[in-house]
Amino acid sequence: MIHFIIRRILIAIPTLLVISFIIFALLDLAPNDPTGNLPMTVPPEVREKIRVSLGLDQPMHVRFSMWLFQFFVNEPLNLLHEGFGITIGDSENRTRILSWSTRSSVIDLIIQRTPQTLWVVGLSYLFGILIAIPIGIISAYKQYSWFDQVGTFFTMVGFSVPTFFTGMVAIIIFSVQLKWFPMIYDTTLVVDSWSNFILQVKQMLMPVMVLALYNASQLSRFMRASILDNLNLDYVRTARSKGRSENAVLLIHVLRNSLIPVVTLIALGIPTIFSGAIITEQIFRVNGLGQLLIIAIESADIPLVQTLTFLFAVLIVIFNLIADVIYGILDPRIRYD
């Protein structure tokens, strides 16, 4: 297992290098002008100076190498310096990846935005799982019962209706008409008292539920299908022939087998917590990572887009590895040596 993990990490390094180059090349090849959003009155010489100040006069390979060096060397060293007080080298004059539009550090922006995303999207993912697994189990066990029919209907709706639509509907009903929840997520809210906590819960509820519905719909379909695949297998009959109760048959024998593909799916879906809720965050004005990416794209902030996209790629590679490891733990038939 250790060998497998080490081998996979070693393979991940060239993979990520290639990915980072592809992202960089695509962004560079795109007809993109960071001064394009400036007023028409700004003369071309000034625009040219701005481009030079952003380093755009350098050839592509130099800029790519700069980014690589900043991302893999300077930024980690800076994190060590700021987070743990460990200083290696000259931490004062180290160049960092800077956002073109705000001139602030890209990594600092990302660190600022991450908690909102984790709270809102992460919680919705967690709720989605907690709702989906029981629904999937009951739907499969009582296949074609009214519970299954109703569940199938709702999961079909939840799965096929996009979150920007359910989000809008939720806002119209619960914010505009009923005025139960605020329409806009207030990031400046500090939870220091009970009433502020209630406010925080209120403003989180709609985005979390809209996303949870979507996640739960998808997962419960998988869970149901996976349970159904196992329910008629011979080992289930063997378990019954031993006199085990239906609960034990279902929750020990069937569930252990059915969870293998589902857990893998859950692990593979975790990177989408960071990246996937782009549209939902935009609708509810949650200023998380998804919204940051949209702003970056709109303002042609290439370093920010490049760094965010690359971080999503890193997460996907990492969670692929984690999914494989979990798969091996859950299923004794899988061995990695």
Binding site: S241, G243, I252, L330, D331, P332, R333
Partner: protein
């Protein structure tokens, strides 16, 4: 009704399956009597209702689509058919043990062998984890698995088919059942492993003194193991007799045909094996005439009109046929 040396008395079990194509008449009023310590062989081709009959007894069939329409099964002064699933659970794996056909799929792939053997003991005998673990080891040794201690923490995929079937036997015997139901336990195994398992069952039967229902389509296995044989065809028992009587003096045309399909070591080399012409009966049709009639060389007008019932022709030899094979008399 229940005489003293009888342990399981099955009376007119009828099981049907409701499928999209219609009602499948899988078992049509099967009755038999299992005596204490006896090994009853049940033979018949695929789809003759052997497995469905025994699975019906403990409701181990998926219901729906299966439905037990009528019948009784007396076991320890209870009618198994009347019991609900919770009451049956106390009997399943405890007083009646099961061995299934395919050892490759009958064990749970993600649970250890030790856990799976211990399950019935913890369920029925109330053993603690450690007690069950100890007995599991003994059971594995009993069924001839060397190095039992290590095997308990292994998973099924680490075992060969023969080893897995030994594990299945250990599971079935874990609670010292009064009745062991073996549903084609050696069909999926190769011949040498088959022979080893038959020896184990023979030995354990003597040691533990349980009654066994042995379902197979292998007549040779039945000849070597059984005390009594029931031949099934189209969801009916068509002939039932003590093993020697059946093999030396078969009375039903189907049994006769079956015995002719066995290759004979003393026969001439060029001799062709006989087969029974025709197709097995369509179970979607409600059986109102003799199910074997259309394939039978001896059938006459009554066979197509009425279904024969099982009649005792002496020496505990029961046959369901309108033709008296001894006298040639048409009933």
């Amino acid at each position: 009704m229940l005489n003293n040396n009888s342990i399981l008395k099955v009376n007119k079990i009828t099981t049907r399956f409701l499928t999209q194509d219609g009602l499948v008449h899988a078992v049509n009023g099967v009755s038999f009597n299992l005596k204490k310590g006896e090994l009853l062989g049940v033979v018949g081709e695929s789809g003759s209702g052997k497995s469905v009959t025994v699975l019906s007894l403990l409701k181990l069939l998926p219901m729906p689509p299966a439905e037990i329409v009528s019948g009784q099964a007396e076991f320890e002064e209870q009618d198994l058919i009347q019991l609900d699933v919770n009451q049956l659970r106390k009997i399943r794996g405890g007083k009646i043990g099961f061995i299934f056909q395919d050892p490759m799929t009958s064990l749970n792939p993600v649970l250890t062998i030790g856990y799976q053997i211990a399950e019935p003991m913890r369920q029925h005998m109330g053993l603690s984890y450690n007690q069950a673990h100890k007995r599991s080891k003994e059971l594995l040794e009993l069924v001839g698995i060397p190095n039992a201690r290590n095997c308990l923490s292994s998973y099924p995929h680490q075992f060969s088919g023969g080893m897995r079937q030994r594990v299945m036997i250990a599971i079935a015997l874990a609670c010292n059942p009064k009745v062991l139901i073996a549903d084609e336990p050696t069909t999926a195994l190769d011949v040498t492993i088959q022979a080893q398992l038959l020896d184990i069952i023979k030995r354990l039967r003597k040691e533990l003194g349980m009654a066994i229902i042995w379902i197979t389509h292998d007549l040779a296995v039945v000849a070597g193991m059984a005390d009594r044989v029931a031949v099934m065809y189209g969801g009916f028992i068509v002939e039932e007799a003590p093993v020697e009587e059946l093999f030396s003096n078969p009375k039903h045309p189907y049994t006769l045909g079956l015995l002719k399909t066995i290759p004979n070591l003393e026969g001439k080399r060029a001799e062709k094996l006989e087969s029974i012409p025709g197709q097995p009966p369509n179970l979607l049709v409600k059986p109102l005439s003799c199910p074997f009639g259309p394939r039978c060389n001896y059938s006459f007008e009554r066979c197509n009109r009425e279904n024969p019932t099982l009649i005792d022709r002496g020496k505990n030899h029961k046959v369901a046929c309108w033709l008296n094979a001894d006298s040639g008399e048409r009933l």
